[in-house]
């Protein structure tokens, strides 16, 4: 019964989404305030209905109702409760339901907090948001219904894919979707601005909080996914340039470019058309990612099942929203007024360089991801474009962007002085160069990337810190006065600084990999094996039984100079229901680096073949991403930029001036 209520709520949500699309749009055309207001209530209704549907599916999974096909195929009564819940989105149908839930959440946020917006702009934005909902709700109801019943109901489910039985599943998809789908709001506002034919700095101020939320979550989502892959796949890698990963990287690159260009638009009223364009492509890349992952054109861990109807349906959605927005853009963009002038050497100029590098690197990723697909369609030849391609093209462009970052951060708006900035950054440049040279000497030229990246990372971090200090402190200022000045700096400045430092920290983590070590060895009891500066000794091998699996378990001790510094327990789990094995890597974090051990099946005589890695600074990769996201959150918390603050202040001022009205 609850399942049917969920299904029914989903159908009603489609109706609400249709109302949200048509009524406010019509209202905005004829200038009827009442009709425009319908968009807000429709958006809230839609959210409530989708939330009911989602709760019904969660309930079916929690109670292991195997008469529901989705539960029977992706759950098992013995699965721990947390994986029953996260299993809701560990499959195609459920993950699409999560997608529309988040879509509705963002629509409702606009409805709730968008009071300060011009009514027509808000109505149009909600209408576009509603149209996206209509498309995806129809997709779910017609091709991927999570509430489909199974007759007769089986006694036991087919179990959740063991690779997905991990806390990573509870964290990675929701974060990633909050990012992916968050860009839908930016897209809707861009489309609304094009429909209205008007855009100004106020638009940027409204959109900025949403952008920062989406970008921060996308950053966290990608980092969480990469960390999950790192510890679960047993290869010690954290980024494989897999098409699905690229699908999440492209919106991130476009979104990062957008976060920067929207700042120019807000502060200087320039780059309007370009910013609108970026808003459109950021969400288009999110849709492309959804298509690549959900349509089955690619096979990967993320492709749960392929059904050709779904591919065609999502392709149609993709075409509608991408071509629709581009047509709108081509038609209306020339009408938008151009904004403020600035010299090429200025913060605006540096941000344009940043945008160029980011969008071009995004284009290389797009090319590398789609080229094999296109070639196969055209010639039938099958090729793989692997890591070397992406490292060389996207990597080179992003490293250049990292080099530009401290300059852009230190340049003044409108007209900057490159020489003065270079002088300020001298210390950072020297620090970076020293690190690069020392690193290269240490590795004796084995990998040119690692020392270069390490030097760049130090340059980015120290360069940003220098700017923070210089903003607060002038020669002759007492420490107390400097501290007061520092506290007076806007939070968005600190947010930007933290995000740039996070970038440097991530880069440092990447560079650290070049200084690591790895070996493959068969471990015998009490015989130490060396990896990097540590030795690893197998202490115990045995079998253990978990709730829904058996495992070959081991314990090993990690020693540094004879002293035990950590204990690790790598294992291999055998899941009965699906006859699958997963690797549980043994990880020990030592000074930001990690010892990483993945084992194969123990041999008959108690020896264990294993891969041993020493990865110095590897945790910085994800800590840096966390710092970037925190930087986004700090910017978001800035009072001056809080949603609609400026408009509210203006409205308040007017009512004071005209009390009689």
């Amino acid at each position: 019964m609850i399942v049917e209520i969920g299904h029914f709520a989903l159908v009603l949500a489609l109706a609400a989404a249709l109302a949200q699309t048509i009524v406010p749009f019509w209202g905005a055309r004829v200038g009827d305030r009442g009709l425009m207001e319908v968009g807000r209530s429709a958006a809230l209704t839609q959210l409530a209905l989708i939330a009911i549907a989602f709760a019904a599916l969660v309930n079916a999974h929690l109670t292991s109702d195997f008469s529901v096909l989705n539960v029977a195929e992706n759950s098992h009564s013995a699965v721990p409760a947390i994986y029953k819940i996260s299993g809701v989105w560990g499959n195609h149908e459920g993950s699409m339901l999560l997608w529309v839930l988040i879509l509705a959440v963002f629509g409702a946020l606009v409805a709730l907090f968008g009071r300060a917006l011009p009514a027509a702009l808000r109505a149009d934005a909600l209408a576009v948001q509603g149209l996206i909902s209509v498309a995806f709700l129809a997709f779910i109801l017609l091709t991927s219904n999570p509430f489909e019943r199974l007759m007769p109901a089986p006694f036991e489910g087919r179990d959740l894919n063991p690779i997905l039985q991990d806390p990573g599943l509870a964290i990675h998809p929701p974060l990633l979707y909050l990012g992916y789908v968050g860009f839908s709001i930016v897209y809707s506002f861009a489309a609304a601005a094009l429909i209205e034919g008007r855009i100004d700095a106020a638009w940027a101020r409204f959109v900025r909080p949403f952008t920062l939320v989406a970008w921060s979550f996308l950053t966290l989502g990608i980092a969480a996914g990469s960390f999950w892959a790192y510890y679960t796949l047993g290869w010690g890698g954290f980024w494989f340039w897999d098409p699905v990963e690229n699908a999440s990287l492209m919106p991130w690159l476009a979104g990062t470019a957008f976060v920067h260009s929207v700042a120019v638009m807000e502060k200087r009223d320039a780059l309007k058309v370009w910013t609108i364009f970026l808003a459109i492509i950021a969400f288009s890349f999110s849709l492309l990612g959804t298509f690549l992952v959900r349509s089955g054109v690619l096979t990967s861990v993320h492709a749960f099942a392929s059904d050709p109807r779904r591919g065609v349906f999502i392709l149609a959605i993709l075409a509608l929203f991408i071509f629709g927005s581009f047509v709108l853009f081509a038609w209306r963009a020339p009408m938008l007024k151009q904004g403020g002038l600035f010299a090429p050497v200025s913060r605006e100029g540096a941000l344009i360089v940043n945008n160029l590098l980011l969008t071009t690197s995004c284009a290389t990723v797009l090319f590398g991801t789609l080229y094999p697909l296109a070639l196969e369609q055209l010639t039938g030849e099958k090729i793989t474009v692997g890591a070397p391609f992406f490292n060389l093209t996207c990597g080179a462009l992003l490293l250049t962007a990292c080099f530009v970052a401290p300059f852009g951060f230190s340049l003044a708006w409108k007209r900057g002085d490159l020489l003065a900035v270079a002088e300020r950054l001298t210390l950072a440049l020297i620090a970076g160069a020293v690190i690069a040279v020392v690193g290269a000497a240490w590795l004796s030229g084995r990998s040119p990337f690692a020392p270069l990246a390490a030097g760049l990372a130090i340059f980015v971090i120290t360069g940003t810190l220098i700017e923070v200090v210089m903003r607060a402190w002038r020669p002759g200022l007492t420490p107390g006065a400097a501290l007061r000045r520092a506290l007076g700096l806007p939070l968005s400045f600190y947010g930007g600084a933290l995000a740039h430092i996070g970038l440097g920290v991530t880069l440092l983590g990447l560079a650290g990999l070049g200084f690591g070590a790895e070996t493959i060895a068969t471990l015998h009891k009490r015989v130490p094996e060396r990896v990097g500066p540590y030795t690893i000794t197998l202490d115990w091998v045995g079998e253990r039984v978990g709730p829904n699996y058996k495992e070959a378990a081991t314990t090993m001790s990690v020693r540094s100079g004879g002293v035990v510094v950590a204990e690790i327990a790598p294992a291999r789990r055998q899941f009965e229901a699906r006859q699958m094995t997963t690797t549980q890597a043994g990880l020990a974090t030592l000074n930001f680096g990690q010892v990483y051990v993945a084992i194969a099946d123990p041999t008959g005589d108690g020896a264990v073949p294993a891969r041993l890695y020493w990865k110095p600074l590897v945790t910085l990769i994800w800590l840096g991403a966390g710092a970037m996201a925190l930087g986004g959150a700090l910017s978001l918390a800035d009072r001056r930029l809080r949603f609609g603050a400026a408009a509210r202040a203006k409205a308040g001022g007017r009512s004071l001036a005209q009390p009689a009205q």
């Binding site: 089986p154 087919r158 894919n161 690779i163 047993g234 096979t299 990967s300 861990v301 492709a303 099942a305 151009q338 002038l341 600035f342 010299a343 090429p344 344009i352 360089v353 160029l356 590098l357 071009t360 690197s361 284009a363 290389t364 090319f367 590398g368 080229y371 030849e381 099958k382 090729i383 793989t384 474009v385 692997g386 070397p388 391609f389 060389l392 093209t393 080179a396 462009l397 493959i520 060895a521 068969t522 291999r572 699906r578 006859q579 699958m580 094995t581 997963t582 690797t583 993945a598 194969a600 073949p609 294993a610 891969r611």
Partner: protein, 150 residues
């Protein structure tokens, strides 16, 4: 700077970055693409030893030989032709006889390759698409075979 001059400078910068990226991409593409073949195609095409490629098919039942150290040898088959593969390292969790596999490496002789990467399927419903296509081509694929028995 005038609006026109600024625009020209911008376009020149954009062209430089895009051109540089395109050059890099073409250069990277020329030596980092790897072609995918089935064992039959390798037999037919008579590829030069030393070529880097990916091969996909089924691990022939009874062909896996683990020798001293971490070296393993097995045969990849698409039913019509076989290819011997040797590999040093730990095999992925899902590597099994009679199951789909993709191996990437260097062709040492016309029917032998040394692999440096082995990809096995990720779950019981997933078979590398390349393998499915290769098997279909040889008429060894039955639709619905990949659906696990209840």
């Amino acid at each position: 700077m005038t609006r026109r001059g600024r625009r020209l400078a911008l376009i020149a910068a954009a062209l430089a970055v895009v051109g540089g990226a395109a050059g890099l991409a073409l250069y990277a593409l020329s030596d980092s693409i790897v072609f995918f073949y089935s064992p039959s195609e390798i037999a037919q095409k008579a590829l030069e030893p030393g070529a880097r490629l990916r091969v996909g098919g089924l691990v022939k039942t009874g062909s896996v030989v683990k020798s001293a150290g971490e070296t393993v040898a097995f045969v990849v088959t698409d039913g019509a032709h076989d290819l011997k593969v040797s590999y040093s390292g730990l095999l992925p969790d899902l590597f099994r006889e009679g199951q789909g596999v993709v191996a990437e490496g260097v062709l040492e002789q016309s029917n032998e390759m040394r692999a440096d990467t082995i990809l096995a399927k990720h779950d019981e419903r997933y078979m590398p698409r390349e393998v499915v296509d290769a098997l279909k081509k040889e008429g060894r694929w039955r639709e619905g075979e990949d659906v696990a028995k209840p």
